[in-house]
Symmetry: C2
Subunit: 136 residues, 2 copies
Amino acid sequence: MIGKLNHIAIATPNLDEATKTYANILGVKISAPQDQFEHGVRVVFIEIPNTKIELLEPLGENSPVEKFLEKNKKGGIHHICFEVEDIDHAILRLEKDGATVLGDGKAKIGAHGKPVIFLHPKDFNGTLIELEEVSK
Amino acid sequence: MIGKLNHIAIATPNLDEATKTYANILGVKISAPQDQFEHGVRVVFIEIPNTKIELLEPLGENSPVEKFLEKNKKGGIHHICFEVEDIDHAILRLEKDGATVLGDGKAKIGAHGKPVIFLHPKDFNGTLIELEEVSK
């Protein structure tokens, strides 16, 4: 059902510092930071040859990244995102197979302007998984 | 410096159960499990269109995954692996730039039969990064 790995999202308490580390030590090119108020994150995108990495810093109140950083002070991998062709079909199949779609169970417009859902980590070995529709 | 994302490694306390979840819920094809005694893991490989996922279960004593599972009972993302063309060159550059190469600082033959190193998570927002040489 799932397609490509769209991105790995890594949370950090200090985006500027993380950006410098990735640029200087791993030698990757990094986008300018974007404030995504509606998602509660400040984000930079790192293009690598076959996928993307996103570095996330909490932005504003009730950021979804804030709670994660309380448990993981230095940061860590927040979620991974796979592409699907039809997110409504994916939701039906996931619920039939016993996975838990977070929120109200319906797709929302995600950080890339495309419909996304998040799956509860309890069903996937503690890994928060995002699915993003790529066809529409 | 880094090239493709080679794989995401996800640790699990129960490989059979994790395998079923990934196969049934996410609809991916999964290899037969392999016991890699020298690396202290039992592993299955999941091919997705642009990269791989590896599910890891501790094997034998002193498994590097055991300590991780003590802190993360349900499992979680253990490390991510990027490809490099020349691992000795990468080590020189990383040490010059202040990163910490784990172990004795020299490349070892990894789970895919190729030279690898691991970088200390403290330098990368709590993310354990493996580098694997792909050219030789």
